[in-house]
Subunit: 345 residues, 2 copies
């Protein structure tokens, strides 16, 4: 090991991946995209490519078993990876699941975890085809890889957004983050006074958004039926602002988002306000909604107009025009990407 010591925090998660992988060159003709999109693309034929996405979840970093039941954790771990395959306009078909657990976990705990994985496999129609199960010195680590299939002509990268394209978000945003605030508040109450029952009433929707997110496999089917191939797409795991930044960076474009167009559920808004949080900020920076963010050519507007699952929230501009959020008064506020950085935790 060299004498120099650079702390991981100095690079951050994305900087670190870029730094460590910058010297790698692709040698296989089947490798279309490597690092830098939601999933890797492996070419088979004009009709078909394979998509590969992988994620690692660490106890104490990505989840806390105190308010994330194991069954929900299993479900979410699968949903997150299926969502990455959706973000390439593909269909997840298989997953592998590797887990490392310390002896503090009994078999019954893993059974719960696998119940959640099983439920997600059923919900998203994916097969569990392999994995690895081993012991760890402390805590639980889950690593999931999803394998998907896509028509090679329909693959949607982050890099295809063009000026004047419409920016579309699916579902509604910010709920998962506000749900997490509720769980954390109740955890603190519980820690202070273990006898007080947690007060989770009236928060069903946002708790579900946090604990049991759904990958939007339905949206991929709708897009196919509507014969819309987005020009770019990403899934919303780190907050809308961060994802818009990724699309703008990869596509070398700017954007304008309209504050009042951002879809936010009433329960999300009301609870955010209860926590003195701005609901739009929760949508922009909260993360973990696992909705899809995509861009379409203006010509496709008629096809998606009025679709209850899709909301046009802005449009793509020239790169030099920057990245702005337009508020209700028409003022342009420069967008800040404040996605999660697990190395800063």
């Amino acid at each position: 090991m060299s004498e120099k010591r650079t702390e991981l925090e100095q690079l951050g998660e994305f900087g670190l991946i870029d730094h460590l992988t910058k010297n790698f060159e692709n040698k296989q003709s089947s490798t279309i995209t490597g690092i830098g999109d939601d999933a890797a693309v492996i070419f088979h034929s004009k009709k078909e490519s394979t998509l590969i996405s992988t994620d690692m979840l660490i106890e104490g970093v990505h989840f806390n078993l105190m308010y994330m039941p194991l069954k929900h954790l299993g479900y979410k771990a699968v949903a997150v990876n299926v969502s990455d395959i959706c973000a390439m306009n593909g269909t997840a078909e298989q997953i592998t699941v590797s887990i490392a657990v310390s002896s503090r976990f009994p078999v019954e705990a893993l059974e719960e975890l696998y119940e959640g994985i099983h439920a997600a496999c059923d919900a998203f129609e994916v097969d569990l085809v392999g994995g690895d199960t081993t012991s760890s010195l402390s805590g639980l680590t889950i690593s999931i890889t999803a394998i998907g299939r896509v028509n090679s002509k329909s693959i949607t990268y982050r890099s295809g957004a063009k000026e004047n394209d419409l920016i579309v978000a699916t579902g509604d945003l910010g709920g998962a983050y506000v749900g997490l605030q509720v769980l954390e508040r109740e955890k603190q109450v519980f820690e202070a006074s273990p006898k007080i029952q947690p007060d989770l009433d009236g928060h069903d929707y946002i708790l579900q958004r946090q604990l049991k997110p759904e990958a939007r496999v339905d949206v991929i089917k709708f897009l196919k039926e509507l014969e819309v191939i987005p020009t770019s797409m990403i899934d919303i795991s780190d907050g809308l602002a961060s994802e818009v930044f990724h699309i703008c960076k990869s596509s070398e474009v700017g954007c304008k988002l309209y504050d009042e167009k951002i879809p936010i559920d009433t329960e999300t808004s009301m609870t955010a306000i209860e926590f003195n949080l701005n609901p739009v900020t929760c949508a922009l920076n909260g993360g973990e909604d696992y909705e899809l963010l995509f861009t379409v050519a203006q010509d496709d507007f008629e096809k998606i107009k009025g679709n209850p699952h899709m909301t046009v929230i802005g449009h793509i501009t020239d790169k030099d025009a920057g990245k702005y959020l337009i508020d209700k008064q028409g003022a342009a506020i420069e967008l800040q990407a404040q996605g999660w950085n697990h190395f800063e935790d």
Copy 2:
């Protein structure tokens, strides 16, 4: 969580996977094999299938950074997964690498790890196409998934061995285990007297077998050139005995192995004896050689005869004939599978 508490040790690694995944059913027509072979098989066409293999390595369980330099660890982590793709008679083309590290590791340590990963990508001609980099609360965890390609007609499962087939091992066995003994001895010496330099002279080969194992991608090419499709195959990660057991169980057959046929390098034998270990026992139960074990029909004997990379070590028998090792005196000793069980550590 239910009241019942079953300890992980009670099931063991393979028992646990079987237990947790027994209720999963495949839904996708593309899923040919799920859990239970070296890699999962995903069907594309008669000409082509995709192979997926995944492995998770945990500091303190699978490796010890005190005698496994990070560069070697990176190399080995890739080799192990490429070896699994070889074991299905396929060619690895891509890998994903996910790592979780605590802040005790500086960026420079990860650079070393990725140097090893890079060297392995070059050696085995695989592309790094994705992954995940995150923080952990303690230690280093590496999860690698290898993606390979195979002609659908050449896929070799564990389950195809037939009575009278020849059992073939590639390379030589036991070296990695004996190399580990040398490293552990020198670590103990170092811990007792840090000023004494480690004495690793004369152990180059077995140290390399432990620290820098090679996946036998060359053997897969030879088999193709020789026009031999093995009837079954597995890679030797847990020791010859354990792997023979897997083939016999999946193929519902028995076997006879011949003690004196088992290929063992001279350095391995001599060092084993120095440690009061039986070299054949090291080959049978040592593990981590990452050679291939396969079976071929008797008709293929002429094609592999005299090949310096392949040694016929026995033959397949009827299931009821059991699994035996025949010693130099002709005595039949019942084989015991004592592969690694990471939950017993």
